[in-house]
Point group: C2
Chain length 347, copies 2
């Protein structure tokens, strides 16, 4: 049961990610779209940027966008400002960034903004939406985590193990293995990892997506799901036992499903999320069906975090070519997830 709270929802905390990338561009566009949406088709969630306000002003000028930037002292102040200006918790970078040319000199500020945004979530902010970071620049600047998501998990606690979901209009997918060479992903696939991802996914579908009895479909690994072992042993040895364990714990799970059958329109109607055995098994159908609207959701964190399903796109930063669709979808989804988690109906 959902109830309407009296207080307005907290704003979303937004990080720029790589300041030389398209993060600032799409945040500016999203704010403009929020203004249009307020009049036309339902309000975009209120948000506050944790980052360099000077950069936002200069990028808006470069793009020819009329976006007033307002430095605020707290996330709480953002709501009253948002209708008239893009609120920013101003955290200056070491150097003014040049669009398209990241510098490791700014990596500490990029990382600090993420840390601060995490500290805001669940007290001063409803959820976290992160702009895309440029890994190599962060590494060159001393960053020691494999990626954004692992960093957020580490900030959240010692035993936090994140699970990645990609959510599009047509499909939700959860890759059990993520950024590994395909050869290694096959070698490392385990029953335990599938069961863990299945449990986290099912719990998130209940709590954050308001699906009372989630249906999971578990993909096979091999062509035709291995044809009863003739085309690979992972299905009987690893995947089927995982499906059985999920079922034994009361989760509605089916599989292993032949991978090429799993994403047909008829099959997509029969599950709420597909557990995929490797990165591209999940990402290929998601992007084929729904390129602009995909949202990256990190499950298993103590707070709601989403991000657009694209990179820094350095080649088009500052040009006006970047579309905010995925960021806007990430904002809408984060807001809805946070509302459900807080026991409110999504806006």
């Amino acid at each position: 049961m959902t109830v309407q709270a009296n207080a307005p929802p907290l704003p979303l905390a937004i990080t720029l990610g790589e300041p030389a990338g398209i993060g600032p561009d799409i945040i500016l566009s999203a704010w403009l779209q929020a203004g249009l949406d307020a009049r036309r088709r339902g309000r975009l969630p209120t948000f506050v940027v944790v980052g360099d306000g000077e950069l936002m002003t200069s990028r808006a000028r470069k793009l020819g966008l009329t976006v007033p930037i307002r430095c605020v002292a707290s996330a709480a102040e953002a709501a009253s400002v948002f209708a008239d200006a893009l609120p920013v918790l101003h955290r200056p970078l070491a150097r003014p960034p040049h669009a398209g040319h990241p510098t490791p000199a700014n990596a500490p500020a990029v990382v600090a903004a993420i840390e601060e945004a995490v500290s805001l979530v669940e007290t001063a902010a409803a959820a976290l939406v992160t702009g895309p970071v440029h890994k190599k620049t962060l590494y060159d600047g001393g960053f020691a985590f494999p990626g954004h998501t692992e960093f957020l998990a580490a900030l959240s606690g010692p035993d936090v193990r994140p699970v990645m979901m990609l959510a599009g209009a047509a499909l939700r997918v959860v890759p059990v293995t993520v950024h590994r060479p395909l050869r290694a992903a096959v070698a490392e696939l385990s029953t335990e990892a599938i069961v863990f991802a299945g449990n986290v996914t099912a719990a998130a579908l209940v709590r954050d997506f308001a699906i009372a009895v989630p249906r999971l479909a578990v993909a096979g690994l091999n062509p035709h799901a291995g044809e009863d072992g003739a085309l690979g042993r992972e299905e009987p040895d690893i995947i089927a036992p995982a499906v059985a364990r999920l079922q034994a714990s009361g989760i509605h799970a089916v599989g292993p499903v032949p991978p090429d059958a799993l994403f047909t329109p008829a099959m997509r109607d029969r599950y709420d999320a597909a557990l995929c055995m490797y990165h591209d098994q999940a990402l290929i159908p998601l992007k084929a069906l729904d390129f602009d609207g995909g949202v990256n959701v990190t499950l298993g964190l103590p707070f709601v975090r989403t991000s657009p399903d694209h990179g820094t796109a350095l080649d088009i930063a500052g040009t006006g070519a970047a579309r905010p669709d995925s960021l806007v979808a990430a904002m809408r989804l984060a807001s809805a997830m946070a509302a459900r988690r807080a026991g409110r109906a999504p806006a």
Copy 2:
């Protein structure tokens, strides 16, 4: 330049495949659709069935379809019959089949029909369209080839090496490795196999698809195409050299392309066929985008061969639930390919 020949095009030779499967059902439906099409939206190609006429009569009765079956003495006779009846080169089975229950006793007749149909192609028939076979039943009946396609290649000559293409309305894909466990497909991937598939595909796109300068996109194997070797070495070691060799031979080829980017709408506009490194990399996007209309095309044979992109569907044989869409698409494509190969404009 294409010219209109004076003689009517030869009929397509159609095999039933597994007689207890849906092959007979969808051929009957296709003939009915041909009758509708002749009046409504352009003629389906004329075709002749190589198989058991009694089976076709009894299956039509079982399905409640009014399809007159006419036994003909030659493929040439089919054209004059086709408007009024479904022409069959009657080759009796050993036993009347029961829909849904294949018997190895009929395997020799199934195989003989394929052999005869191959012998007709390019003299008495324009192209071959094969119904789905049931591999296990053929094996139990003594069939010694890995599959349908390998058998057709063996019938075609000692050095014939087939390449599989799946063609849908949205996408053409060519898997470089096919029915192998994923682990083996990764281990066996070779520059030579990619170059071979690329050459055969490019030649077929020119000759059979009338694409003067075909554009090939070559997929990577690993997530993000390996991120410059950080997520796998197959891209620099195996795939990029293959792309370079294809380019050096004058073929317009690009890649390795990140697999999840390759099938987005914007990317699909930029190539005529995608070379894929393993079965599901090709089949997942094809079936996600275009489940009912996919056609299996065998490139590299001396004749045109297509087949529907589905199996025997034993569970729905004889029930009326099987849809002929993929078979009809296979017929249309075979006819168009044969016409182009013969120097005629497709009907």
